[in-house]
């Protein structure tokens, strides 16, 4: 019996949960377990969580980096603050980087979103938490699992740029729109189109630089079991990914192809030292190597270089023009860079049963130390290049180019440096006590925890303390009560004011246990629950905000060549420095019907205050010194979450269907804003994450102008520039007859969706199984102001996409167009923040698809083979959306995102 107790405690401890766990206020579907994880086709854990947990929103990271090791952005119940979003991601109870964690080593993932469950994280908890628990051994005496899969990644969301002929005509059209002479004559255009002209070079940069696919491999190996007094789990993974860059063979000896390799090892041991003492040890290490061009993986030059007028190389040299970078030369021709990442995560926990002192008393002590670093190793060089200047004959045909050589070929320069390093030391100690008096159970726990987190550099040290007292009471597991009090401290707060108090309480009522419900045989389980409490967030603070930082000021040269650095009076300090505090109120229902349908419904509302806001917006500039932020901002949010799971077997056919849906609305209740005479220019009262932009009202047509090119009476004019037919006409919100800064407003639809949903479908027939994960969002505003693809031809952005040409205003196509006319000039009217450069970002994506077949054979038993499974997997196979040319989550001219197709085999002994 005692042994069992210890097992329970050690499991609880390893999960970083308090003794409240049995009565947790979390809903029953807020956890994803091994049954789901075992069927995931992802390697990285967060990538496997899209749409699976109610209240957890994951968004593909659209920042343009190589997605091999990038984790999604996540919010828990949307955002509660305009100054950042910092949900905790806990791995075995410790805040850690989830990009290091693979699906195969995870036992469960739980989303924590209500005040009572978040209370133990005090001043860090307001943005919610995601708790990832790794696997431990002991379920079986011995088990060996291995899984190998390999496949292809196909780039997608790479908009096609205009073909040479289309580009030449578009350029001439743009010049004509601007009243300028054509760049290419009729004859030139014809020769470009039919390919007869040898003079004007053409180049398809996209197919020259991007290969059709990359290769991906992922191998897992694990053994677990128990022996004597030790339970063990050992896991190893190797994964590799080769990117989409085509090896042009033009840069000798230096391979600039993008490549990724990672080796991951974990070992979790539970050792029973004495009858009352258990030792838990966890070690996890990772080595990874990511290689790419020294110039980085931003492929913008590939999109901005037109297909006409510049070859990659000429006479053995790279070619460039004043305006146009040579994408192959600048990205693939300037050397390579390797990021070496190493990390070690180490945990130790001792659990002690203290029943000999007081029956029911237990204690545990935990320490963990994490350390990781990334080191860069680069080889770089520059090259000499030719520039082309067109030569025209008297009839305006481009007949030749003059060449001039610039730049130098340099030797290869080597450099190695530390990019980042961080260290985290987490300790806690706990006492628990549990007792049962008849049908009454009482539990109490005390927790003291400390976190020390240090990144490279000054001012990057953070410490947190939590002193938690938690009391649970239940009567017959029917009426549940929990009270948690946290005295929580952050080093970011002012001296003498480090602590904040976070109380929370929750109640539960399991109706299905009531005698009056006993008649409802279809009802297996029904629970009502509610919670309320305070949570905090200190991540938006900085050190010493209450101090006036007099310090380094302007420098000035009194005597050449050296300058003296001055000292300036610092900004006036902040008054009343405090963390954000959120009051969260939550109510929910959990149910299970007819042994097959499980469900969870939550409604919540919360109000957060203490948000940082600019104090300077109200003080005259004559003051002559800056003001630091004040803490008057307020945000509230409310929403609903639903999760349903239906499992049913019909003979050999089994079906499991699951779905989650969350709808969150937030509102800025107060923010200090710059003065505007127009009420629609204020952000307060509306949602977070909206764009401040102009609203379009179609395009100027020829009929809006007099014959001399001036605007007709009554047509709204633009103060941003002289408008012509085909330019964007904006809504004159300020109603003063002209478009200016006062016509900007906060667009209604935010850049994050309110509605987020997912569906998981599983079918199994004998050995054959099909698993599908779909995920989608409601309306949101995606920003599309990318140069060349959307905002073409002008300035340094010298190219245009096929999509733009098909959808923009042309002198002969003026109806039903989405984008303004082509121009080569900087057009201050068209190319500014407006709803023209946005799209509805809603989507429904097939995130994962897996077809597997479990092979059954008689001889398996003889060789001790428990299971053999072959499978085909695909990720991101399709998306239904309004964007057309991009993945709505990844509107970028960076490294393309990928669809993955893999085949693999699982074997278990």
């Amino acid at each position: 019996m005692k042994k069992l107790f210890i097992v329970i405690i050690s499991l609880v401890a390893s999960a970083g949960l308090l003794a409240q766990e049995p009565q947790s206020n979390a809903g029953i579907l807020s956890t994803v377990g091994e049954d789901v994880l075992d069927n995931s086709s992802q390697r990285q854990i967060l990538n496997a969580m899209y749409g699976l947990l109610p209240g957890l929103q994951l968004y593909q990271n659209g920042s343009g980096y190589w997605p091999a090791d990038i984790i999604p952005n996540l919010t828990v119940r949307g955002k509660g603050s305009y100054s950042g979003n910092h949900p905790l991601i806990l791995i075995d109870g410790v805040v850690r980087d989830p990009s290091e964690i693979n699906v195969a080593e995870v036992e469960s993932v739980t989303v924590i979103k209500d005040a009572a469950s978040l209370a133990i994280w005090g001043v860090r908890g307001a943005d919610g938490a995601l708790m990832i628990t790794t696997r431990r051994g002991g379920q079986e005496p011995f088990r060996l699992k291995t899984s190998v899969r390999t496949g292809l990644q196909i780039p997608y969301g790479t908009p096609k740029m205009a073909s040479p002929g289309a580009y030449a005509r578009a350029l001439n059209e743009a010049l004509a729109n601007d009243g300028l002479p054509p760049y290419y004559s009729q004859a030139n255009v014809a020769s470009i189109e039919d390919g007869t002209g040898r003079i004007i070079p053409t180049m398809d940069w996209q197919s020259a630089m991007l290969s059709k696919y990359g290769l991906i491999t992922d191998a897992d190996f694990s053994i677990d079991g128990s022996r004597n007094r030790t339970r063990y789990y050992v896991y190893a993974n190797y994964s590799s990914n080769s990117g989409f860059l085509r090896n042009t063979g033009l840069t000798e000896n230096i391979n600039t192809q993008a490549k990724y390799y990672a080796l991951k090892i974990r070992s979790n041991l539970d050792i029973q030292l004495t009858r009352t003492t258990t030792l838990l040890v966890g070690l996890s290490a990772r080595l990874q190597q990511q290689q790419g061009p020294n110039a980085g993986l931003d492929l913008t030059p590939m999109y901005t270089a037109p297909t006409v007028g510049i070859p990659a190389r000429f006479a053995g040299m790279w070619v460039r023009t004043n305006m146009i970078d040579n994408p192959i030369g600048s990205i693939l021709g300037t050397g390579r860079k390797i990021d070496f990442g190493r990390s070690l995560l180490a945990d130790i926990t001792i659990c002690q049963d203290l029943s000999m002192i007081i029956p029911g008393l237990k204690a545990d002590v935990h320490a963990s130390y994490d350390n990781s670093a990334t080191i860069i190793d680069s080889k770089s060089f520059t090259y000499s290049y030719l520039t082309l200047t067109p030569q025209y004959n008297t009839s305006g045909d481009l007949v030749d180019y003059s060449l001039a050589q610039y730049g130098n070929d340099t030797e290869i320069a080597f450099s190695t440096y530390l990019l980042s390093q961080n260290m985290r030391f987490t300790t806690w100690g706990r006492l628990y006590w549990d007792a049962k008096f008849g049908k009454n159970s009482l539990g109490a726990s005390m927790l003291a925890s400390r976190e020390y987190y240090k990144l490279r550099g000054v001012g990057n040290t953070y410490k947190h303390y939590d002193f938690v007292l938690s009391v649970n009471y239940d009567y017959d597991r029917k009426y549940l009560l929990n009270l948690t009090l946290n005295e929580s401290a952050s080093s970011l707060l002012s001296t003498g004011d480090k602590f904040r108090f976070y109380p929370a309480a929750s109640v539960g009522w399991v109706l299905s246990k009531e005698s009056f419900m006993s008649g409802a045989s279809w009802l297996d389980y029904l629970k009502l629950r509610a919670s309320a409490g305070l949570t905090g967030m200190d991540a938006n603070l900085q050190y010493d905000m209450d101090k006036q930082f007099n310090g380094v000021g302007n420098s000035y040269i009194f005597t050449l060549p050296s300058d003296l650095t001055g000292l300036r009076e610092g900004d006036l300090p902040s008054v009343g420095v405090r963390p954000e505090t959120e009051l969260k109120i939550d109510a929910g229902i959990d149910f299970k019907l007819a042994s097959s349908l499980t469900g969870e419904i939550d409604v919540f509302m919360s109000r957060r205050d203490g948000l940082r806001t600019l104090a300077g917006n109200a003080v005259s500039g004559v003051l002559g010194v800056g003001l630091s932020d004040s803490f008057e901002g307020r945000v509230s949010r409310r929403g609903v979450e639903v999760a349903l799971q239906w499992n049913k077997s019909f003979g050999e056919f089994s079906l499991n269907l699951g779905g989650t849906l969350s709808y969150v609305k937030n509102r800025i209740d107060y923010i200090e804003e710059q003065y505007s005479p127009a009420s629609f220019q204020y952000q307060a009262g509306g949602a977070l994450d909206r764009l401040f932009a102009l609203m379009s009202d179609g395009f100027y047509s020829a009929g809006d102008f007099n014959s001399d090119g001036s605007l007709r009476e009554g047509v709204v004019s633009s103060t941003f520039g002289q408008v012509k037919p085909g330019d964007v006409k904006y809504k004159d919100l300020y109603e003063d007859g002209k478009i200016d800064n006062y016509d900007y407003t906060w667009l209604e639809v935010p850049t994050l969706p309110n509605l987020y949903y997912g569906a998981r479908l599983g079918f199994a027939y004998r050995g054959l199984a099909l698993n599908v994960l779909l995920q989608g969002t409601g309306n949101w505003t995606a920003v599309t102001n990318l140069p060349s693809v959307y905002c073409p031809l002008y300035g340094g952005d010298k190219n245009v996409s096929e999509y733009y040409l098909a959808n923009c205003w042309h002198p002969d196509v003026t109806d039903g167009v989405k984008y303004p006319r082509l121009t080569t000039l900087e057009n201050n009217n068209n190319f500014r923040d407006s709803d023209v450069w946005t799209a509805n970002g809603r989507y429904l994506k097939l995130r994962e698809l897996q077809i597997s077949y479990t092979i059954k054979a008689k001889f398996f038993e003889r060789i001790n083979l428990k299971e053999a499974k072959v499978f085909l997997q695909g990720n991101n196979l399709f998306s239904i959306d309004d964007m057309g040319i991009f993945d709505p989550e990844y509107i970028s001219t960076g490294y393309p995102c990928a669809r993955t197709y893999m085949a693999g085999i699982n074997i278990q002994f």
Binding site: T321, N322, T382, Q391, Y392, Y406, G407, N408, T410, R450, V458, G459, T461, Y462, K463, Y465, F467, A489, S490, S491, L493, K498, Y543, K547, Q548, F549, N550, G551, G553, N554, S555, Y556, I557, F558, T559, L560, L564, T565, G566, L567, R568, E569, G570, A618, V619, S620, G621, V622, L623, G624, V625, L627, P677, T719, F720, G721, Q722, D740, N741, E826
Partner: protein
């Protein structure tokens, strides 16, 4: 159980107090106000910070020179904000060159020093450095006073009605301050400068630190002549009160007389970007090639053309014989610097000029001419202030120092000429005016500047109006690209006459000769409200008591 409770309480108390001390993370370095004024070195640094607010005009607005918003230049690069000055988009909610906040920060930096600067550090008196440190220390409040006046004038010429910040303001009072009118502010600034000039040294050359960049007596007096000349100019002197000109003339004379005694400065043929005796006050810049990157002609590697002088300016330079340029006879001289005032080729790169061992070709199809991307639309490129040796060739990039003249002695001569001429109506006036005896006539003052370059004197037969034209032209040419034209066309109220911008289109004929054709490039917009800047609507809202400039 009570014992248990006590243990728990003791444990909790111990943990929390241990946590409190552990939670102090003191990685940030910051200085208290007392520390900022704790020794000679710190005070010097506080003073240095105030100087650091001085700006050059190399990239004054939108990354280029203010001349691009005048008839002296156009900006070659299409994406630019400088054009908002003349395309109608300038407004109180789309401000340009809005220096209100920056200049008040600069003024606060001066006040901060003036209000806190100790008179002495007696504890340091036995240190070796004491004497020279002390000598510098006592000077700081006067330097700060001169700088504060300069920053106020920078506000005044932009915003017309300004708040005089003669002390640091508190958050509570700052939203309720009121403005003074132009003449009051100008008078206050002039008085401040006169007071500072009595204490400032004539020169820092030969002093213990030899820090030439500090404010001198000459700076204060020269600036005072500028302030009073602006105050007397048509824009700010609607009643054409000649007494204001007389005061400006007297101020210029005070400076010139003082300089005659001190012998610090002299008129000379300037070699820009070097320390010269003709420069009274300058902002020095460490080696940098941003200015060359922005303004080297297209066709020189790394050049982006930037400031392109107009035909209007090119035609303002006299012929080498001292006669004014005449388009019908002298158009070929635009491509031959030897025919023109020597300042022509020091200021402008023209087709045929020699630059970086190459001949500048701005004719159509030339190395630096259209249709080359970013080529000058006027056919002219900037020469003044560019460090010719700068290389922007990848792998061989070099950069050099720059010196931006804030005030030069030749300006004071031209201030003198203008003020005395406008006060008396005569180019030849000598004698007593308002109690001051003038021995140099306006004409002689202008000729003093011309003679430095070997330019023949202006004829002594000029009528008053003709003299005014030649005198203003002299100022335009002498002070080209030094940030004066933008303000001169305003204070003279001639801005509406400067809206048509001309360039030169040069075609090379088959026999290699060049055919220059003047072309109208731009007809810019002008409204009279633009004589002063608008105060931003945001600032007007913060302080409800502020008055906006007319018609904004």
């Amino acid at each position: 159980m009570t014992r248990m409770k006590r243990y728990i309480l003791i444990l909790a108390a111990t943990l929390i107090s241990a946590a409190c001390s552990d939670l102090e993370v003191n990685e940030n370095v910051y200085h208290s106000k007392e520390y900022m004024f704790a020794d000679f070195g710190m005070v010097k640094d506080v003073m240095t910070n105030a100087y650091g607010y001085l700006e050059t005009g190399f990239a004054a607005v939108g990354g280029t020179m203010t001349e691009c918003a005048t008839d002296d230049a156009v900006y070659a690069n299409t994406p630019n904000t400088i054009k908002f000055f003349y395309d109608g988009s300038w407004s109180k909610n789309n401000t340009l060159d809005d220096k209100w906040n920056t200049l008040y920060s600069a003024i606060r930096a001066c006040n901060y020093l003036m209000e806190n600067c100790p008179e002495d550090f007696e504890v340091a008196q036995y240190l070796e450095e004491y004497a020279r440190n002390k000598a510098q220390l006592v000077n700081y409040p006067w330097e700060a006073k001169a700088l504060r006046a300069y920053f106020h004038f920078e506000l005044l010429k932009r915003y017309n009605n300004i708040v005089i910040a003669d002390k640091t303001f508190t958050v509570e009072e700052v939203n309720h301050l009121t403005q003074t009118d132009y003449q009051t502010a100008a008078g206050w600034i002039a008085d401040e400068l006169l007071e500072a000039s009595a204490h400032l040294p004539a020169t820092y050359s030969g002093t213990a630190f030899s820090e030439l960049g500090r404010a001198t007596r000459g700076f204060a007096l020269a600036l005072r002549s500028r302030v009073l000349l602006y105050a007397a100019s048509p824009l700010n002197n609607a009643a054409a009160d000649k007494e204001l000109y007389a005061m400006a003339a007297a101020a210029a004379k005070t400076m010139l007389d003082q300089n005659a005694k001190d012998g610090t400065y002299m008129l000379q043929d300037e070699v820009f970007n070097t320390e010269t005796k003709g420069t009274i006050f300058a902002v020095r810049k460490a080696a940098d090639n941003a200015f060359e990157k922005a303004n080297f002609p297209a066709g020189y590697e790394g050049g982006h053309s930037g400031v392109c002088p107009t035909l209007n300016l090119a035609e303002a330079f006299d012929m080498i014989d001292g006669t004014p340029y005449d388009r019908s006879n002298n158009i070929q001289s635009l491509m031959d610097g030897s025919m023109r005032d020597p300042r022509y080729e020091k200021t402008i790169l023209y087709n045929g000029a020699s630059f970086k061992d190459q001949t500048v070709e701005t004719f159509r199809g030339g190395r630096n001419g259209e249709p080359l991307a970013e080529a000058s639309p006027t056919s002219f490129y900037l020469r003044k202030f560019l460090r010719e040796n700068t290389s922007l060739v990848a792998g061989q990039v070099t950069s050099y120092q720059h010196i931006w003249p804030v005030i030069r002695l030749s300006e004071v001569y031209l201030n003198y000429a203008e003020a005395l001429f406008e006060a008396t109506g005569s180019p030849f006036f000598k004698g007593s005016l308002a109690g001051v005896s003038y021995t140099m006539s306006p004409l002689e003052a202008v000729n003093a500047v011309r003679s430095v370059y070997g330019m023949p004197p202006l004829p002594d037969t000029l009528e008053a109006d003709a003299f005014r034209t030649r005198m203003r032209n002299e100022r335009r040419v002498e002070l080209a690209f030094e940030g004066h034209r933008f303000w001169d066309i305003r204070r003279w109220k001639i801005a509406p006459e400067t809206c048509n911008i001309y360039g030169l289109s040069i075609n090379r004929s088959d026999d290699g000769t060049f055919i220059p054709t003047p072309i109208l490039l731009q007809s810019r917009q002008w409204e009279d409200k633009m004589y002063f800047y608008p105060i931003s609507e945001v600032e007007m809202h913060k302080n409800k008591g502020l008055n906006q400039n007319p018609d904004w």
